[in-house]
């Protein structure tokens, strides 16, 4: 164990190196690039004994990763924004083929207009793809979650791809202290496993057959079930990781939620800033709380609802929109979850930070105040609100 200064990007690269990944296949895109640069360096220097495939597009990046995984290798890829969107087709295929590919996503806004800054539109548009989906709040968490991701993805009871989201620039380019494990510890926690369903002349199997109407539904159902069932493995992996590292994250970070009048639900790097505002507003007597989600797929609906049960209003802050929908992707899912569990607590949606628009301390206060207003009025005026846009 040692604590070193790493950025979100280089912390991932460092973990990937320790994990002795066999194949890396990636295409550059801001703000993910410094991650693959670092990996190229490791490979060029012989610090990581892997093949780095400098593919010609993200469609091929994920394809090559999938195929290498099918051949039995431990693989890594990463991307962002337009690159993730270009992988769209192959994302679904990777999951349904049950390949334990791990991908880092430096979340970034999607075109048009072209914008290289952070929001969550890229990953939200992939929420049906069938991947396990983590969000990190810091470089430390990005490092830890990368290691956990392999453990989960390669679990015999899981065999699913995992993506790990960390906010573009805000995390990817911020250097901060990261406490790392020793190499052996990493591989002991997430050992390489021999899978039996692999492309090998010794076992002449067929991968990717056509599923006619007689078989498709069952095949799809199997993949859907696998994702639902991965929940236990995810929780367990985190617990075991805590044992060896002292760090565990749970499926979300609930901060001062027990007695909160309003709880702000968020995803990703904003969590820490929200907690700081919670502390500040609490000092002024406002009973506010924060729930920062770490696991987005499978969606821990029950656990979220349980945490929200006693509050008076919920504010879902999200850096994404679903134009023309009743509300944003995360809000819609939380709203539906509340309804499903017969909880009538009002929940509003606040869209902010699109395309890297700064969410400052005042903005977070505004959001909490909106939540407090709903809590006291017990009524929602605007379901979907925007903070920070110049209308």
């Amino acid at each position: 164990m040692k604590t070193i200064l790493l950025s979100g990007n280089t912390s991932l690269s460092y973990a990937v190196k320790q994990l002795d990944v066999d194949v890396i296949s990636a295409y550059p895109i801001t703000p993910q690039t410094t991650m693959v640069e670092k990996l190229s360096e490791y490979v060029a220097n012989g610090e990581l004994n892997a093949e780095f495939i400098p593919v010609e597009s993200e469609h091929s990046a994920l394809t090559a990763a999938l195929a290498a995984s099918a051949a039995g290798a431990r693989v890594f890829t990463s991307t962002s924004s337009q690159g993730l969107l270009l992988m769209h087709e192959i994302l679904f295929i990777t999951a349904a083929m049950r390949m334990p590919v791990v991908m880092g996503i430096a979340d970034r806004a999607v075109s048009a207009p072209i914008n290289i800054w952070n929001d969550h539109s890229d990953i939200m548009a992939q929420r049906d793809a069938g991947w396990i989906c983590f969000f990190a709040e810091s470089a430390q968490e990005a490092y830890d979650k990368t290691i956990q991701s392999y453990r989960v993805a390669e679990d015999e009871n899981v065999h699913l791809p995992v993506n790990l989201n960390f906010d573009g620039f805000i995390l990817t380019h911020t250097y901060e202290p990261v406490t790392t494990l020793d190499d052996e510890e990493v591989l002991k926690y997430a050992p390489k496993k021999i899978r039996s369903l692999v492309l090998d002349p010794k076992s002449p199997y067929t991968f990717g057959a056509l599923g006619s109407p007689e078989y498709y539904f069952e095949a799809k159902y199997q993949a859907v079930k696998a994702l639902e069932d991965s929940f236990d493995a995810i929780v367990k992996a985190d617990k075991e990781y805590k044992k060896i590292s002292g760090r565990g994250y749970g499926i979300f970070n609930a901060y001062m939620t027990d007695d909160a009048d309003t709880i702000l639900v968020s995803l990703g790097s904003i969590g820490g800033s929200v907690r700081e505002i919670v502390r500040r507003m609490r000092r002024d007597g406002a009973k506010v709380g924060s729930l920062s989600l770490k696991l987005f797929r499978p969606f821990p609906a029950k656990q979220i609802v349980d945490t929200l049960l006693k509050t008076k209003s919920v504010v879902v802050l999200e850096k994404a929109t679903s134009p023309g929908a009743i509300s944003g992707p995360l809000h819609m899912e939380i709203q539906a979850s509340l309804k499903t569990f017969d909880v009538t607590i009002p929940a509003i949606n606040i869209i902010a930070g699109l395309g890297g628009r700064e969410i400052g301390p005042e903005d977070i206060r505004i959001m909490f105040n909106k939540g407090l207003k709903v809590a006291s009025q017990k009524r929602v005026d605007t379901i979907m609100d925007y903070v920070g846009v110049n209308i």
């Binding site: 349904a96 390949m99 369903l197 067929t206």
Partner: protein, 91 residues
């Protein structure tokens, strides 16, 4: 025929090489290839060109497997000694 979820291998992998042989595509045929061994010079051309394959070598004889012969007629067309005829399947 449809399988249960639990009967499908993970990721829809097929662990059954050549399992297509369970589908007897000879049923597609309107004509059948018949080899006249009096003419056949065992050159192997028909064997090398059958797209199925529905011709195999058995006891040094190229033999048509009617489970799979779709009756395309390539073998008959390409046989250098015209040893193969295409015979209409009975009505």
């Amino acid at each position: 025929m449809p399988k249960k979820v639990s009967e499908i291998d993970e990721g829809f992998v097929l662990k059954t090489p050549l399992s297509s042989m369970q589908t007897k595509t000879g049923s597609w045929r309107a004509f059948r290839a018949v080899i006249d061994y009096n003419k056949c010079i065992t050159c192997g051309i028909c064997w090398s060109l059958c797209p199925e394959p529905a011709i195999y070598l058995k006891d040094n004889k190229y033999t048509v497997d009617y489970d799979y012969c779709k009756g395309c007629g390539i073998c008959a067309q390409e046989c250098p000694v015209k040893a193969i005829s295409m015979v209409r399947e009975s009505d």
